[in-house]
Symmetry: C2
Subunit: 263 residues, 2 copies
């Protein structure tokens, strides 16, 4: 089942994507809902980010082997041993951008504007003290995030606030897929239709069960919270004015955004 959020008569509503149609729902996937008789054409619907998470978590530094190696080379750091436990970070919801929206590069940003195609876990239920075995019981479904990064600022700012949370730098969508087979999924990125990156989505250093059980030792997860799971490999070439970037995860869909540089 695919849950999207869309604008309908000026209001944000949830909808269920079925083929080329969206069935408008009353309520939300995080509480009660019912299907209504209102339908929208998927092609022309104005999609919103599928949820505005109360808290937006991100796997810290890196959660895939080849991305650690690439980032060390990119930032000219000595090769570091792989992390032995996950670093849990945050992103700001002020930076969220829906499928179809325009990523705006600030005037004073460098040219090192990189995509990061990431699996996003969407929490459906309040959860605390979940074991590894129980961890997935709080998950509603999965969507796609593009963890846009300005690499010069990333090297300068400990908290990544500008590098990763500049307005429009967190595209997320197009919808939440509740029936997702992580075992089969591939993450594929295209710029202007040309494939630039491909990796096995599930080859994490620290898996989803690990993140959920670690977080819920100390912090309550709430319906709508999202965990961005990191990216693998290189994130090149850099994005520039006029580009269209597509982050696909097979079994979920394609998150597509255009890129503009502020003048």
């Amino acid at each position: 089942m695919k849950w999207c959020r869309l604008q309908s008569s000026g209001k944000a509503v949830y909808g269920i994507v079925e083929g080329s149609q969206i069935i408008e729902a009353q309520g939300s996937p995080f509480a009660r809902y019912r299907r209504t008789s209102r339908k929208h054409a998927l092609r022309s619907a104005k999609l919103l980010v599928p949820v505005v998470p109360p808290t937006l978590y991100a796997s810290g530094v890196a959660n895939y082997q080849a991305h650690v190696d690439w980032a060390n080379a990119f930032f000219k750091r000595a090769p570091t041993p792989l992390p032995t436990r996950a670093d849990i970070g945050y992103r700001a919801t002020s930076a969220l951008l829906p499928h179809g929206g325009t990523i705006v590069i600030p005037k004073d940003a460098s040219d090192a504007i990189h995509y990061e195609n990431e699996l996003v876990v969407v929490v459906g239920k309040t959860a605390k003290h979940l074991s590894r075995d129980e961890a997935l019981s709080c998950v509603l479904g999965y969507t796609i995030g593009n963890d846009m990064s300005e690499r010069t600022w990333q090297g300068m700012d400990r908290t990544f606030w500008r590098s990763k949370n500049t307005d429009t730098f967190k595209p997320m969508g197009p919808w939440i897929e509740t029936d997702f087979d992580l075992g089969k999924a591939m993450s594929i990125t295209r710029i202007n239709g040309k494939e630039v990156s491909r990796f096995v989505t599930g080859k994490f250093l620290f898996d989803i069960q690990y993140y959920i059980s670690e977080i819920t030792k100390y912090v309550t997860l709430h319906p709508g919270d999202a965990i961005w799971m990191g990216t693998d490999g290189a994130t090149l070439p850099p994005l520039k004015h006029g580009d269209v970037v597509e982050c696909e995860i097979t079994g979920i869909g394609v998150l597509r955004n255009s890129v503009k540089r502020e003048k």
Copy 2:
């Protein structure tokens, strides 16, 4: 004017504190409001955090000279030159706790459980690209935050997620004061009624105008966003089971919380 948020007939509503009374409002200080005829006794009202910020900013690492010096000694770091620009960080709203609520120390936390009495700036209007001179125009008012920190975890976790965002570790309140004279304010902390810390609230390394103009170069501030401005000096003695901690900022009020250790 003092804006509080409270529970009234099972709903969260805004109220205006006048002497020993709260006048219930319809609407909120972030949009339109009107005073209603419903009144509550301040003494017995169940206060909530005065706002749940869409984004909760925190001054990074340190924003007062004496706290930088103390923290270097505490963490056994070499004396570092003072920062030349502010580090902008985040806290998670999942950790918020109202005035009167109980701070719960997790079972496996160390004894290094520290208070940090902080001025909190509450944003009232959407703002982008504000100059220093324009910066305060987006501010609704000020409240108090206690940036509770588990110092052992703080030394281990780059993102401070556990050390500062464990459930209940972000007391904030009791209300938002819209008429606040920063020039005269003192920050005073008491444990079980005994004064343990006192500093001049406004002696920041980087001031409020700086934070707002820096943030809004890249990020839109939204109504309800909050910026925690850091603390000064030592944050000792550590808090333990059974303590009551009071963070006062003169001209705003007193944020009081009890402390419990999980068994």
